[in-house]
Amino acid sequence: MSATTKTLEEVTTRDYEAGFVTDIEQDTVPPGLNEDVIRFISAKKNEPEWLLEWRLKAYRNWLNMPHPTWANVNYPPIDFQAISYFSAPKSDDDRPKSLDDIDPKIKETYDKLGIPLYEQEMLAGVAVDAVFDSVSVATSYKEKLAEKGIIFCSMSEAVENHPELVQKYLGTVVPHNDNFFAALNSAVFTDGSFVYIPKGVRCPMELSTYFRINAANTGQFERTLIVAEEGSHVSYLEGCTAPKRDENQLHAAVVELVALDDAEIKYSTVQNWYPGDENGVGGIYNFVTKRGLCQGRNSKISWTQVETGSAITWKYPSCVLRGDNSVGEFYSVAVTRGYQQADTGTKMIHMGKNTRSTIVSKGISAGHGQQSYRGLVRIAPTAENARNYSQCDSMLMSDTCGAHTFPYIDCQNPSAQMEHEATTSKIGEDQIFYCKQRGISEEDAVSLIVNGFCKDVFRTLPMEFAVEAQKLMEITLEDSVG
């Protein structure tokens, strides 16, 4: 049994033990959450006073917030006092010794995805001391970015080196009291990514957390902030297609995007965290708050996500379209199989004139997977000539899975045009038959049909990502039909 299959309690207990094993006492705090823990985290990271105050405010708000129950997911109550909120990176002794120690299923997937061995080891968290190619690659990229004035670093570095930028934008899109998990994140976040694109700069490459993966252990409470100044452009990739091993069961990340006049941010996610074993034991809880603010005129924020992992996904990448003529997009493919549950969707808040939003959500359920699309489109009275198009399609691949749709459409301006469409279907026997009689095997036929179903979303992914995502889909849904 690999470390990933252990339950939350087991994992947290182990963290607890680790707290005593570590030789330097200050490097870790015992499980539990109180103001002292937050002060400790803040002090540990040499944070300025305002940030500590902000964290404490978030914490005090969080204490008064009830645990949300509205999502269509089931899980045992989480004991927030059993989690250790700051721990030093795992020592090599705790990690799997080699790839032989990890779940053979994961290893199999790595092989199918064609991931090089050393990357496999890195993803699985195997203790290795070889220097990866990607590290040097990352360094050279950093130089190139610095030339253009682009800041791409970890959140801690940003707080230290660019406090004025962080202070100006942190919490402006997702306030510290936004929701239960966002408040928790604001109180205890340990690290994340910070991106700043100066005025008029077009980022010359796709920025990816992948390059930072072994530079810093971002932990379970990740905080990402991306600011695109006037007329700038950036494409950001989060995650990767390979299943990633992680010690923590609860993940509550916050991502904030700010786009000023004429700026464009494209944010792509491929999430493939451990979904639990075939009986639904273990797996990551992924409770994420992602929101983008189109603050300036003609700005654009585009979210693309491919969600195949995690036991529970609870995620609504949203756009607040404040600037006139701003554009919000949301493209999503979510797959649930085994006992996975996903409650995901988006919010499009139209405030500016002539704002436009597009929502394309494709859900695939197999096995005992339960999947919900939950989305809000709100047209404020000020949003003249707003336009929204929503489409959410579900595909069911077994008679024990479920697909649910909960769209909320609130329209307060008569000049708005809104459309919402949803369909639910399964792979037709006639479709399979058609493929088979033309010499295409059943497995290939399924993959063909599924990829056709997801094409609208994959098309919006960066090229290499799209190819990987397609491959991932094939592997994920293997043996799902029949």
Binding site: H404, P407, Q412, A422
Partner: protein, 444 residues
């Protein structure tokens, strides 16, 4: 809107006290007393919904919870009934005033063979037994606090029973009127039982005067195997009225229930429609039109449950919103595990006529079976500028052009009405809402 919890709890206890001090109901059958008790207990457990409750989030209940509405000892004066003409001219029409049967105002026509229509207080025989077996079995007494209040405080129950195999094209009309008494609570109740193979048409109408009253109508429609029920509901509560009601139906094997509702009027109105498709081949159709203006709030929640294989449902709700009115359409289609070959469609269209109107639309699907066809659609917008331009370019005045387009939009919902008198009546209601109604009347 965010009422302190204590004051809502206080309001709840007022109703519990009212129940304890209610005058003795002599000669009431024991089962009915037990049912009342179940109602008040359910209300005690449930209380008024909190504004944070997902399904009540948008309904501004503080208006209701802040006032103590009481049942009047006797029916009051009803200005609304002076010179009132029921929507349907043909067939029997039974009138209830403040929840009490009003024999004088009712119109007695010959009942079709096999059909019984009478208030519970005047009932015996097979129909009375049917009441005991069905009353309170469909209404969401435990979930819906206002259905619970109705069950606890109901005055008289209107019962329509169609015997096995009976066929009737003559509609049975029921009018629930409210008098001019201020701050009174009215609890209209209708039970329709269509036995297997029977066919029936029922028209239920709600009218009221200008008083601030609370009406909590509860309707239960039972369609046994192979039964066909056409049910029409016209809601015209008074301008200051708050109406919170439920309609529940259960369709057996190969049964068809076609429901048509029109909501106009009332300060606040909410109708929860529950449909359970329990037998294979069951078919349910829900059509609704809502016309709002001023500061009206109009809410429709539908809960359609496909509980077995080979069932079909179709919902179309359309709204025309004017003034500062606000509407909610929240429809749920639930396909149970194993309910294969379900075919469910859901559609909501809102036409915004004013800048300040607000339409909420939540068409929801919950699907636990894989071999199903389910779709939903929702659109919200204003009149098509090009269509307006087209009409204007052909010499039609702005008001007339607008009226013609609104009429075309809304009339689709009136087309399937099979009761001719009702069709004209509802058209009349629609015309009254159009700015250039004369021209449209001539054109159509």
């Amino acid at each position: 809107m965010n009422q302190p919890v204590e004051s809502i709890a206080e309001q709840k206890s007022v109703y519990l006290r009212d129940f304890e001090h209610a005058p003795a109901r002599d000669g009431e059958p024991e089962w009915l007393t037990a049912l009342r008790r179940r109602g008040i207990e359910a209300f005690e457990r449930r209380g008024f919904p909190h504004s944070k409750e997902e399904s009540w989030r948008k309904t501004r209940l503080s208006q209701v919870a802040n006032t103590h509405y009481t049942v009047q000892p006797a029916a009051g004066e009803a200005s609304v009934l002076a010179g009132y003409r029921p929507a349907v001219e043909a067939g029997p029409c039974l009138v209830f005033l403040d929840g009490r049967f009003d024999a004088e105002r009712s119109r007695w026509a010959e009942l079709p063979a096999g059909v019984t229509a009478a208030p519970l207080s005047e009932l015996d025989g097979a129909a009375a037994t049917a009441v005991e077996n069905h009353l309170g079995t469909l209404a969401p007494v435990d979930e819906h606090p206002f259905a619970a209040l109705n069950t606890a405080f109901v005055q008289d129950v209107m019962v329509i029973h169609a015997a096995r195999g009976s066929l009737s094209e003559t509609p049975i009309s029921v009018v629930f009127a409210s008098s001019d008494s201020e701050e009174q609570a009215v609890y209209p109740r209708l039970l329709v039982v269509v036995e297997s193979g029977a066919e029936l048409r029922v028209v239920e109408q709600h009218v009221g005067g200008g008083a601030n009253y609370l009406s909590c109508p509860v309707t239960e429609l039972v369609a046994a195997d192979g039964a066909i029920l056409d049910y029409y509901r016209v809601q015209e509560p008074g301008d200051a009225a708050r109406q919170l009601g439920t309609v529940s139906t259960r369709a057996g094997k190969d049964a068809a229930v076609r429901m048509h509702t029109l909501a106009a009027g009332g300060q606040l109105s909410r109708t929860d429609i529950y449909a359970d498709l329990d037998g294979t081949g069951a078919d349910v159709e829900l059509n609704g039109l809502y016309l709002t203006e001023g500061r009206q709030f109009c809410d429709h929640h539908t809960w359609v449950s496909h509980n077995t294989e080979h069932t079909t449902s179709r919902q179309v709700f359309k709204g025309v919103l004017d003034g500062r009115s606000e509407t909610v359409f929240d429809g749920l289609v639930k396909v149970a595990e194993g309910a294969q070959k379900t075919d469910a469609q859901q559609e909501n269209r809102n036409l915004l006529m004013s800048k300040m109107a607000l339409a909420h639309s939540n068409p929801r699907l919950e699907i636990y079976a894989d071999d199903v066809k389910c779709s939903h659609g929702s659109t919200t917008g204003q009149l098509d500028k090009e269509a307006l331009f087209y009409l204007r370019s052909r010499g039609v005045g702005p008001a007339d052009a607008k009226s013609m387009l609104v009429f075309a939009f809304a009339n689709e919902m009136l087309e399937p009405i099979k009761v001719s008198g009702l069709h004209d009546y509802e058209r009349g209601l629609l015309f009254r809402r159009l700015p250039g109604d004369e021209t449209v009347r001539e054109v159509v």
